[in-house]
């Protein structure tokens, strides 16, 4: 466990270099919101291999990691390009890659959420009412059952998921990694607590005093965080509520980019291998896109913490 306080600020390159290793079980969470593409791109640049990638929705972020050859296995519950179509690199690795197929371990959303809950709570399993009547347990023998000691009912179970490393994107954090999130929470808190190492990426680093002025907004405590990275626009083409909108156009473009392996390779060359980091990536996208996506202000009111 990390030291509870003191600065853990470092560059994305240092954070990935120090805390993500070949063969790791990795989770970069964020449900639509706060998906840390900046971390994934750095992982691609540092050419990590044989990763087990865990996420409810692999999304474009894992399609890119898979296309770049970083992945050995995928643990997931919904693999599509939301509102658009398919994840073609992922589909190719399953449908047209008989020699060295990507290993799949498949759940429903609830099942994977429950795996993170168990991991965070350091329990070996989590019980749930699910999967009866479905073929999912037949496809995944890790979905089992347990008998309730009170009612005798048979309930479904999933095993704990304890990744080696989690990347958590937040709107803002202090230098110790205490991080505040508003808008959709997804399963970020559970993924962070479940993981051995946590890289916290924030749009903005704020003074501890600002964070302490509204402690109920804190989702992730610094005591579980190993590295803090300040990376504005780090979630693009995903979004950060109050900072920038989702780049839906890019999600649509990905359909065509990812369909064609050569075009995908060219895209990786240009936007991932061809840039040193996030600021170069954003510069490449151009100021118009940035301006179009920048959030308009809609501030909430404060509340009284006095006594």
């Amino acid at each position: 466990m990390a030291h509870p306080s003191g600065s853990k600020l470092m560059t994305m390159s240092d954070a990935i270099g120090r805390f993500v290793r070949d063969g790791d079980v990795l989770v970069i969470e964020g449900f639509t919101h706060l998906i840390c593409f900046a971390a994934a791109h750095e992982i691609i640049r540092q050419r990590r291999r044989d990763l087990t990638l865990c996420r409810l929705t692999p999304d474009l972020i894992y399609d890119q990691l898979i296309a770049a050859g970083c992945a050995k296995k995928l643990v997931f519950s919904w693999a599509g390009n939301p509102g658009v179509g398919s994840l073609h690199a992922l589909r190719r690795s399953i449908e047209k890659n008989p020699d060295r197929p990507l290993e799949l371990e498949e759940y429903s959303h609830f099942g994977l959420v429950a795996r993170f809950c168990a991991g965070a709570a350091q329990l070996p399993f989590w019980p749930m009412r699910d999967y009866r009547g479905s073929d999912l347990p037949a496809a995944n023998p890790l979905i089992k059952t347990v008998t309730c000691p009170y009612t005798g009912e048979e309930l479904a179970t999933v095993p704990a998921l304890n990744p080696d490393v989690a990347v958590i994107h937040a709107q803002r954090a202090d230098a110790s990694g205490n991080a505040q999130v508003w808008g959709l929470y997804g399963v970020q808190k559970e993924a962070a607590f479940a993981s051995d190492r946590v890289i916290l990426v924030a749009e903005e680093i704020i003074a501890e005093s600002v964070l302490r002025s509204d402690p109920n907004r804190t989702l992730i405590p610094g005591i579980i965080v190993d590295a803090v990275v300040c990376e504005p626009w780090g979630a693009h083409p995903s979004y950060a509520q109050g900072y920038y909108d989702r780049d839906n156009d890019f999600y649509i473009e990905w359909e065509d980019i990812s369909k064609d392996p050569e075009r995908l390779a060219t895209w990786l060359d240009e936007f991932v291998y061809g840039v040193a980091g996030r600021s170069e990536y954003m510069a490449k996208l151009g100021p118009e896109r940035k301006q179009r996506l920048t959030a308009s202000p809609l501030m909430s009111e404060g509340v009284n913490y006095g006594f």
Binding site: E95, S134, D245
Partner: protein
Amino acid sequence: MAVRAAHELRDGEVVFVGIGVPNLACNLARATHAPNLMLIYESGAVGAVPDRLPVSIGDPALVTGSLAVAPMADIFQYYLQGGRIQVGFLGGAQIDRYGNINSTVIGDYLHPKVRLPGSGGACEIAIHAQRVVVVAPLSPRSFPQAVDFITSPGLNGKYGTRESLGLPGAGPVRIVTDMGILAPSHGSGELELVGVYPGLDADAVRKKAGWPLAVASTLEPILPPTERELHLLRDVLDVDRLYIGKRGE
């Protein structure tokens, strides 16, 4: 389909909304006969009032102005498993004779012809929502005798009936297609055609299913979409024609 699906919703109900046509249907219902519809998205937005058509199930417009944001652990455990969801909307690549839904693979699971996105929240929505409305265009390929993979349990299947499995919700009680509406017949849970859209012939519609689709003894009357509904869909809710296509419905 969006208009028909909207008609399945009653004012004040708590609806678990999926993306695409279900989302369009919910927002159409909110704009017409069900202003107090409570939209809950699996992403965590509760009481969402999106001021643009959400492209994704986690669109920021679902959060802004919503009543609450819940962690996904709460959404699945306390809202869905907790029995708080009255209507769940599902789609799927295949729906079979007993309402089982496949959104996982076409072909064999380990060596699929087509790898579909998978369950997402569909399996647990099918189990826990008090009732499920399925939205899918009718064709023999999409409505086979039996699905290649049961992602979300229907009314009856190889593992048993809902009752024998102890599933809390009523399951897929309405299947809204582009030609008519299917619903389980009392007793067997087998789907039958209970209504056809204006201008269509029941006998022609029933042949679109991949099994000998029974027709209910009395067909429900189905009116055409009103001008206002079409206006809302075309000019307000889906201006970019993301879901309604060029045909209007």
